[in-house]
Symmetry: D3
Subunit: 324 residues, 6 copies
Amino acid sequence: MTSLPNNFLGLPPRYSNYRRARFAVLPIPYDATTSFQAGTREGPAAIIRASQQVELFDEELETECHKAGVATLDPLMPNMAGPKAMHEDVFAAAKKIVRDGKFLIGLGGEHSITSGLVRAVMTKHKKLSVLQIDAHLDLRDSWEGAKHSHACVMRRILDLGAKIVPVGIRNVSLEEHRFLKTVIRTPSASEGPGLLLGEGRGRSLALPVRKKSAIRPWVEVVTARQCHTDDDWVDRVLNALGETVYITIDIDGFDPSFAPGTGTPEPGGLDWYQVTGLLRLVAAEKTVVGADIVEVMPLPGQAVTEFLAARLAYKLISYVQTRM
Amino acid sequence: MTSLPNNFLGLPPRYSNYRRARFAVLPIPYDATTSFQAGTREGPAAIIRASQQVELFDEELETECHKAGVATLDPLMPNMAGPKAMHEDVFAAAKKIVRDGKFLIGLGGEHSITSGLVRAVMTKHKKLSVLQIDAHLDLRDSWEGAKHSHACVMRRILDLGAKIVPVGIRNVSLEEHRFLKTVIRTPSASEGPGLLLGEGRGRSLALPVRKKSAIRPWVEVVTARQCHTDDDWVDRVLNALGETVYITIDIDGFDPSFAPGTGTPEPGGLDWYQVTGLLRLVAAEKTVVGADIVEVMPLPGQAVTEFLAARLAYKLISYVQTRM
Amino acid sequence: MTSLPNNFLGLPPRYSNYRRARFAVLPIPYDATTSFQAGTREGPAAIIRASQQVELFDEELETECHKAGVATLDPLMPNMAGPKAMHEDVFAAAKKIVRDGKFLIGLGGEHSITSGLVRAVMTKHKKLSVLQIDAHLDLRDSWEGAKHSHACVMRRILDLGAKIVPVGIRNVSLEEHRFLKTVIRTPSASEGPGLLLGEGRGRSLALPVRKKSAIRPWVEVVTARQCHTDDDWVDRVLNALGETVYITIDIDGFDPSFAPGTGTPEPGGLDWYQVTGLLRLVAAEKTVVGADIVEVMPLPGQAVTEFLAARLAYKLISYVQTRM
Amino acid sequence: MTSLPNNFLGLPPRYSNYRRARFAVLPIPYDATTSFQAGTREGPAAIIRASQQVELFDEELETECHKAGVATLDPLMPNMAGPKAMHEDVFAAAKKIVRDGKFLIGLGGEHSITSGLVRAVMTKHKKLSVLQIDAHLDLRDSWEGAKHSHACVMRRILDLGAKIVPVGIRNVSLEEHRFLKTVIRTPSASEGPGLLLGEGRGRSLALPVRKKSAIRPWVEVVTARQCHTDDDWVDRVLNALGETVYITIDIDGFDPSFAPGTGTPEPGGLDWYQVTGLLRLVAAEKTVVGADIVEVMPLPGQAVTEFLAARLAYKLISYVQTRM
Amino acid sequence: MTSLPNNFLGLPPRYSNYRRARFAVLPIPYDATTSFQAGTREGPAAIIRASQQVELFDEELETECHKAGVATLDPLMPNMAGPKAMHEDVFAAAKKIVRDGKFLIGLGGEHSITSGLVRAVMTKHKKLSVLQIDAHLDLRDSWEGAKHSHACVMRRILDLGAKIVPVGIRNVSLEEHRFLKTVIRTPSASEGPGLLLGEGRGRSLALPVRKKSAIRPWVEVVTARQCHTDDDWVDRVLNALGETVYITIDIDGFDPSFAPGTGTPEPGGLDWYQVTGLLRLVAAEKTVVGADIVEVMPLPGQAVTEFLAARLAYKLISYVQTRM
Amino acid sequence: MTSLPNNFLGLPPRYSNYRRARFAVLPIPYDATTSFQAGTREGPAAIIRASQQVELFDEELETECHKAGVATLDPLMPNMAGPKAMHEDVFAAAKKIVRDGKFLIGLGGEHSITSGLVRAVMTKHKKLSVLQIDAHLDLRDSWEGAKHSHACVMRRILDLGAKIVPVGIRNVSLEEHRFLKTVIRTPSASEGPGLLLGEGRGRSLALPVRKKSAIRPWVEVVTARQCHTDDDWVDRVLNALGETVYITIDIDGFDPSFAPGTGTPEPGGLDWYQVTGLLRLVAAEKTVVGADIVEVMPLPGQAVTEFLAARLAYKLISYVQTRM
């Protein structure tokens, strides 16, 4: 007779003890600002349950990385005073984990939580690049009245001074398109004929753009279409990222066929081998210091998305741990 | 060849024109502060779609009340700056409808919207009683950091100076239980042996209670158990209500067997004939000046709840209109 | 090692053989022209699968009535030329069963199939009363351009010369309300103050009504509200029915809490003991010669409705068989 | 910033610590022998999640009973060697809890687990009555080749020497009907005209019945129909039960309208007030020494059943604790 | 405080006004005679709701094409007299739109509606090629008794004198296979060894085929397998199409992994970039004069398909508008 | 008027008669040992229903292979005494079919049934290779106490003396990884640098491995990653298989995007053309003597998986029949 601990991977105390663990999983069941379909608050619990079916042995790396210790914290409760208040709560909870020397892995919940997590990681790593797997840029300045909306989270991260490299993008607002004209990009990307997204053939839009401050934000976009047509997209990502990297994965970066459980599924996304191949290389060539997986919205009676997210989280742990 | 207008009841312009309509339906697809399951933002659209299957003729009253005019407004967009900001938006939208002389019917969305609706109605009707059909009191002072949470909405309404009569209550917090000791109740209700909920047999809780201000709030609770066991519960409600009444129906006032699509289904609730029988009497004996139906969370593939809500909304219209 | 035959009740050949069976179950997976998934067309297969979980022993009657033989025919394929063509197909299939001396039990599928079934039964039993358990009268003359629509099926049955006794009614169109004024009703029912539905208190509608022919249709309505408030509603049904009875059960006659899987769920319906109690009495005091259960629309992941329908069909068989 | 512990009721360590707790909740996510629909293995986790929405204050008893301590153990893993092996595992896990002096509350999972739980409780309380809320007797000797099937669990409990009082029964097999003729019943129940289920009017079945041993099993059945028609059914239950009582609640004892999430939903079951009213009286007049809630099968996207089960489990704790 | 208009893309009156709009979206919620819930009839409303999440800016073309005006008409009600009657209604509604000079975009509903739409477009454009994205040929002469069945719609369009180019085909009936031997094909396609589908290796079927009339129908089939293996499939489509093109997209032309919400999902279909790449080229090189998207059957709790369809419809508008 | 027989492909007696049929479909609705999500017991019925929508004509092969006869047997009932007992029942049922000279096609149900089917086929074909399409190796020696668990089925088949060729593998346990070091592999596969899975770059695991017997098991693994990156993976499979082949398809060998309905969906699997292309070649170059499709777990309201499985089963029949 045996029992199954209800934590990420279903680990016994030996491997899930917080003090001895290298990795700390922080569930944040928060979805107050999502636009359309609701339900990402169910994400963390669903991912954790699914993770208990993942083999602890990784057949790609031929190792068992849970032995480095993976602690699962109690879920962070939502703060309903508003997105700004919640941001502070996320920051406070994450900062403690970072201070304890753990590798932080946030499980969302909506994407807005990422700015709190990144801010916490930046208390330790000032110079940070953020690799963003996502269908949307999330670069609006404000959305539905909120600065800390999920639709603005990467803008807030730019405000913190981090570089960002969005990958898998395929739905962009006019506001974001205009904003991109104000940012710094890598030289290799600027060689194109002046098109910021690198693939358009439509008529150009003459837009007056003003710099907001002396310090210009730094963004390098890789669209989903580029991931499907350009052979060098992975190199572009690696070149654009600095040495120290935080990874935020909005599950809608995947094509909805692989991850249907998300609020605004956008056709034309990435597949399993594209994402895991990229993560493996980034983990091997950079220093990854934190990560999150967000916007998993469990579908009733269809567990595919949380299985993928659980597998992905452990892959990420394994890539990071194997490299060390 | 005919077409079906996408408004409440699927009415042609003749009956759905705002200027000529007596009733105005305001959809508010907002659920930012709900505690557990999400999805009430889908409620208004689902109710409106279901309403298009409701017969315009009411077989109980033998009338067609849609002829008084029922306009459906465009949905009010959520304000994600926080619950307080959303409250102001609801108030502003509703005040305009009240000022236009319409009978306001809000469709939620989470219960927190009701305080904005009631506040708007009170710009016209200063002395207001609110009949609340609900499983929960929603009388907390604050919840998860928010004063305008769904869990506090009736407390906010007491703050506005309205009387409230909660009916169908069956899940109460200790905080609310203590608060009830500070409020004014009708004489008939105070005859019991000091038990505020009137049915307990447990050991008493000695709690120090302080009045917060000179003006004490006025609450008369009718529990779900009383609705099932006391013959005079309807009379108690009618006695407790003043002349001018606003009706707010949290769909979880119904037993989950009748309305399973809601966030926190509580067993032991009211049935169709209890609620409609009460509404008919209240509409006949009082002056109803506004109403809302909230917390409808459409279930995937199970339309029972929105059908009930649509039927209920039209019943309410018919009761109000027939009385006039 | 055993196997489970895929027929109604999962009976072995000994009891499911058509030639020796008293009862013949005819599945009619019809709800119009789409190919596969959708609504009530899934009803018959779902009821048959659920029926394989029903005990063959009936604990109320303390008998095993399947021994009288219950054959399950292959499903009747839809005819998509239009509702009239389908009506003819249903009639032809059912007439053969009636001619073979079987007790016909139709499983729908939408309610429009009933007119074909009744027409077939009337080739043998000219003078027929039809007991209709239903939320809707289905007495429109035409609906969305079709005379053989589900919304008109009882009107077509009146055209055949049968009496009808609708029970559980709670959503009536103005057209149907007006039509009821032209029909013959039992003396006991006509004692009311001129209100055909017997319960209204609204303002009367002055409507000019013309007889269409010398032979007036015969209808006795028992509303759902009467089933909940009048003690003698069962007697009214029994008095209204003639000696030879066909029973058609639209599953929406039940309250949606008991049978949520149906296309237009109407609150305020009948419960299990009301329906089975009535059926038992009708089977005991009348000669029941055929029956159907229609409008079962299986919900994804929620089998309650088909379980109820399966149990109900076997109850009906048992009541009929025990009486014999 | 706060966090929510993932245990029954979401209790902080102070109240969920095993050593100090009076009540111990044992989740058993096992469904290997169920007949039809699968999924009760998801029951315990769903009930625990729903329980975190239940108010810790009970408005009926006006107390907070969680303060007596309610510990939640890690889920017991299934043993797939077969039902007999699983029975032994359940027994071993439960015996330890009983030995530790805790009040055992099992959360299923399928009903077969109850025999292991009862056997464990009987290591301490030799003379035990088992109150069984259920739609089915579960009194088969063997089912689909298994003695420890869910369909045989009460037969196994009779083998242990316990009395059983099944309540809410409404689907009985011929084998069980015959078996009932061999058992001992209370005098009041035996006064009927020889019909064991007390309500039949069908033709009698002449069946030869043989005693299996000198010690005859003791069973007192209260059918669902009796619960709806006989005023004294609660007294019959109380009279039949001995002083020391174990309570097993198969969720299908409830009508499917209240608890649709179960494998074989049977129409005509009990409602919330019938069950909780009975439990309160039993807890007040007897000594309840253990309990379980089983056969909860979470439906995709419809949480009504687990909410009811969570509320029920806490009601049971409150009734037991208040009495003490 | 803002509100969201309930039309395609959620456009304000300025861009959704019918008179000023270039594009007119006609929702046709038709999949036959049942009343409410079921299959593809839910498609148009779901697509429209999803469209309100689509960015108005297109990141591929770097334009905002909604400014050309996109009006959404009220849904066309089903005519249940039969498929022929419905065809006439669709034709009448569409003809008016064509006469008003709008670019017609039909949203289904089942595929049978396309013949009415094409017939309307041909009142203006006599010489028309129809590009059909589909898993099935829909070339039966009659199906389940109906000439205007969804399974016959392209046969009806051939009857109108249009050329058709089916793309993505992967489930063919013997009748259709035989019919293809009677049609005209492009020279490039006829070079194969006599195999109409171009990929078979099975034994040949000797079938007598007779021409029905002097005017032979014109069909060029591109199977799904060819789309996955032949590099020149897009060229074949472009060569086969005439100058003036109508596009009908049966959503099951996509692989079910991308569009699971459809009635008969066939494995092996097209992906997002295949379809949008083709559409962009067709829009650039031909004159597209009308389009429809059909057979979207919203799945409960899984919105992927309607999101794809909404995005696709706006892509199509953008390709058409950008080219102009 | 026509009717639809409820068997695989919906065939009339002429083609579904057992005596004359070449192929025999055995439904085995068993899922007692599955680890996580339950529901594969619903698989066979769902596949059979979906199969009735498959065209009898195969457009790839241009033949109608159902004419060889495809009989559908009654479902084999589960034996709940335990997995070993069920294994014997499956073996007995399958042996009879094999003895009757039929080509056996099992429809699961969980994967554990395959060992009984293979054992039956080996009564006729002593020297057998088993092609296993799967995400998991299922090579554990024992799982959750059971030797005949789904997680051990291929180990049991090795015990029978068959070779196995697992294809699509992407989740491996440490136990299985170690076991693989003890088995015989083809020379071509052993050329690698000692890595059994052929793709790892992690640190090696030094594990002591002992042979259990003189006869070493024979296994050739092709991982999912190899199917996506190695051009010669199909050749490796063909080389590894002997002349006589049994095919077992765990539906989770497909990527979850194509077959979401399964208990433990693993990202990174095979697509439709990979699997059917492989099957066609194996059927052409080897002698296929039996097959099964298992682990189909129908999702509520999402029929994609059973459609794929039905199509796949008929493809397999067609490939086998065409070759003959």
